[in-house]
C-alpha cells in the first residue's frame, strides 16, 4: 500500500535527518514506528505528507507516485494525517473542525456524517463548543475524527498519546484498534508510549538515525523483550 525507498530528507540548515529510509506497509496493517526523540520520526511524517521536500528517494502510495507531491494532493490520494500537537482549529467549533476534514476532499459530501460522532461521544455532546476550550485528550479525539471524516485509506498518527492523561490514551487505543479492525483501515502510528503500541499495532519498526534499524513482526512478542525496547527507547 505504502512503499518508501531510499528516502533522504532534512532541514535547510544542512542536517540530514532521513538517511535512505526504506519500508513498506500492507493494506489493513497497523504499524508502529518507534524511536527516541531526534531519530527522524516526525521528519519522516512531514516528508510523507508533503510539508518537507525530500532530496532523494521514492514514495509510492496505492500505485501513485507521491514523492514531493503537494500536501493537498497527498491528502486527496487518501492519506489522513493527525499531526503532533493535534493542530486543531481552536477558534472553530467541534463540528466545524470535523467539517474541515470533508471540505477539501474531492468525492466526499461537504457535511459531517453522523458516524463521525459515534467513536467518541464527547464530540457529539460538544458539537457547538469552541474546540480550543476542550482538554488535550478531547482535542486528540477530535483530530483523529477530523482525519477520518475525510475517509482516508491510510491514517498517520504522530505521538497521539503526548500530553494526554492515561485513561484517555487507553480509550483512544481501544477505539483505534476497533476502527482499524472493523473498517480494515491501514494505520501508521508514530509513538513512544508502548501501552498504545501494544493496544493498536501488529507490527513494529524501530527507527534510529534516519533509517529502520530493526523490525518486530509481532508486537505481542515485544512485551517480553525488554532488551530491544531499552535499545531503541530511553525507558
Amino acid at each position: 500500500m505504502l512503499t518508501v525507498s531510499g528516502l533522504v530528507a532534512g532541514y535547510q540548515t544542512g542536517s540530514r535527518v532521513l538517511n535512505g529510509l526504506s519500508f513498506s506497509i500492507q493494506p489493513g496493517e497497523v504499524v508502529a514506528l518507534i524511536g527516541r526523540n531526534g531519530m527522524g520520526k516526525s521528519t519522516f511524517l512531514k516528508t510523507l505528507t508533503g510539508h518537507l521536500t525530500a532530496s532523494a528517494g521514492q514514495i509510492e502510495f496505492l500505485g501513485n507516485d507521491i514523492f514531493n507531491a503537494a500536501p493537498h494532493d497527498i491528502a486527496n490520494a487518501g492519506i489522513g494525517y493527525v499531526p503532533q500537537g493535534r493542530e486543531i482549529f481552536s477558534d472553530f467549533s467541534v463540528e466545524q473542525n470535523l467539517l474541515m476534514g470533508a471540505i477539501g476532499k474531492s468525492g466526499i459530501r461537504n457535511a459531517v456524517p453522523q458516524w463521525a460522532y459515534e467513536p467518541f461521544p464527547i464530540l457529539d455532546e460538544r458539537r457547538k463548543q469552541r474546540a480550543g476550550t476542550m482538554s488535550g485528550g478531547q482535542q486528540q479525539q477530535l483530530a483523529i475524527m477530523r482525519a477520518l471524516v475525510g475517509q482516508p485509506k491510510l491514517l498517520l498518527l504522530d505521538e497521539p498519546s503526548e500530553g494526554i492523561q492515561p485513561s484517555i490514551v487507553q480509550e483512544i487505543g481501544q477505539t483505534l484498534a476497533r476502527i482499524s479492525r472493523d473498517h480494515s483501515l491501514t494505520v501508521l502510528l508514530v509513538e513512544q508510549n508502548l501501552e498504545l503500541v501494544f493496544a493498536v499495532a501488529q507490527r513494529c519498526l524501530f527507527m534510529e538515525n534516519g533509517v529502520i534499524a530493526e523490525e518486530v513482526s509481532d508486537v505481542s512478542k515485544l512485551s517480553n523483550d525488554s532488551a530491544i525496547i531499552h535499545k531503541y527507547l530511553s525507558v
Binding site: 505528507t49 508533503g50 510539508h51 503537494a70 500536501p71 493537498h72 497527498i74 491528502a75 486527496n76 494525517y81 499531526p83 493542530e87 486543531i88 482549529f89 481552536s90 477558534d91 472553530f92 466545524q96 467539517l99 474541515m100 476534514g101 471540505i103 477539501g104 476532499k105 474531492s106 461537504n110 477530523r146 482525519a147 475525510g150
Partner: protein, 284 residues
C-alpha cells in the same frame, strides 16, 4: 439637526467604502501574510477604469462591473508573477508590493496624465431624506457597499468555502493536509481582494477627484483601520473602518481636512498604544 443627518450619511458612506478596501487587505494579510502596498493602486485603477469608459462613451454603470473584473485579472497576474515568490518573506512582500504600486501609478500617469480627471455624476438629482437634501448617488454608494460588505461576511462565515479560507488563515499547514488547495485559495483571495478595491475605486470616482494620488489617500486610512481594528478577523476591519471613517468624516466636515488627518493619526496612535494587537486582537 439637518447638519447632523448630513454628517451621519457622509460618515456611513465613507466608512462603508473604506470597509471594502480594508476587507481585501485583511484577508490577503491573514491568508498570505502579505502587506499589500499596492492595494491603493487597485483602488486607483478601479477609478480610472470608470474614467476610461467615460472617454469611450460607455455608460457609467458598466464601470461598476468592468472595474472589479479588470482588478481581479490584475490581482491574478500579480499574484502569479510576484507575490507567490515572496510571500514567505514578510519584509520582501512590503518592498515587492511597494514596487508594484509605483509601477502601476506611473503607468496610470503615462496613460492618463498627472492631472486630475472628473467623472460625471450619474445621478445628479438630489433627494430629500429626513429633511436633508442629499445627493442620491451617495445613497446608492451606501446601499451597494453595505450589500457587498454583508455578502462578503456571509461568504466567510456562512459558506463552506468561507470556512475553508478561515481554516487556511488559522492553520495553513493543517488545512493543506486536510486536502485544501492553499495555492488556489491564495490566488482566488488575492483576486477577490483586488476586485473589492477596484469596485470601491469605481464607485467613488464620481465623488472624488480622480488623480494618481487618490490610491494613497485611501490606502493610509485603510491601514490605520487594520491597525486599530486588528488583523485577526473581519470584525476588526469593521471596527477599524468605523472608527477611522467616522473620525475622518466628522472632523473634516466640522473643521478642515488637515485637522481631520491630525485627529485620525492621534486617535490611531492612542488606540494602538492601548491595544497593540488591535481592538479585536488577543492579548499576548
Amino acid at each position: 439637526m439637518e447638519f447632523a443627518v448630513a454628517i451621519t450619511l457622509d460618515t456611513v458612506s465613507f466608512t462603508l467604502t473604506l470597509l471594502l478596501v480594508t476587507m481585501g487587505l485583511v484577508v490577503i494579510f491573514g491568508l498570505m501574510n502579505v502587506i499589500n502596498m499596492a492595494h491603493g493602486e487597485f483602488f486607483l485603477i478601479g477609478a480610472y477604469t470608470v474614467v476610461a469608459l467615460q472617454q469611450v462613451g460607455a455608460p457609467f454603470w458598466t464601470g461598476l462591473l468592468v472595474a472589479p473584473v479588470i482588478l481581479a485579472c490584475v490581482g491574478l497576474v500579480l499574484e502569479e508573477l510576484v507575490i507567490r515568490h515572496v510571500y514567505h518573506r514578510f519584509i520582501d512582500t512590503i518592498l515587492a508590493t511597494w514596487g508594484i504600486s509605483i509601477a502601476l501609478k506611473q503607468s496610470i500617469i503615462i496613460l492618463f496624465g498627472p492631472t486630475s480627471q472628473s467623472v460625471v455624476n450619474p445621478l445628479p438629482q438630489p433627494v430629500d431624506l429626513l429633511g436633508v437634501t442629499y445627493p442620491s448617488y451617495r445613497l446608492l454608494i451606501m446601499t451597494i457597499s453595505l450589500g457587498l460588505a454583508i455578502s462578503t461576511f456571509l461568504f466567510f462565515y456562512r459558506t463552506h468555502a468561507g470556512l475553508a479560507v478561515r481554516g487556511v488563515i488559522a492553520n495553513r499547514m493543517m488545512a493543506a493536509s486536510l486536502g485544501i488547495n492553499t495555492r488556489r485559495m491564495d490566488r482566488a483571495t488575492f483576486a477577490f481582494g483586488a476586485a473589492l478595491a477596484g469596485f470601491a475605486g469605481a464607485v467613488m470616482a464620481p465623488i472624488m477627484s480622480v488623480d494618481p494620488q487618490m490610491g494613497v489617500g485611501f490606502l493610509i486610512p485603510a491601514f490605520l483601520s487594520i491597525l486599530v481594528g486588528g488583523t485577526s478577523s473581519l470584525l476588526g476591519a469593521v471596527l477599524g473602518s468605523g472608527i477611522i471613517g467616522t473620525a475622518n468624516t466628522v472632523v473634516s466636515s466640522l473643521w478642515t481636512q488637515v485637522a481631520a488627518q491630525i485627529v485620525v493619526f492621534s486617535l490611531a496612535i492612542v488606540l494602538i498604544r492601548t491595544f497593540p494587537e488591535g481592538l479585536t486582537g488577543r492579548k499576548r
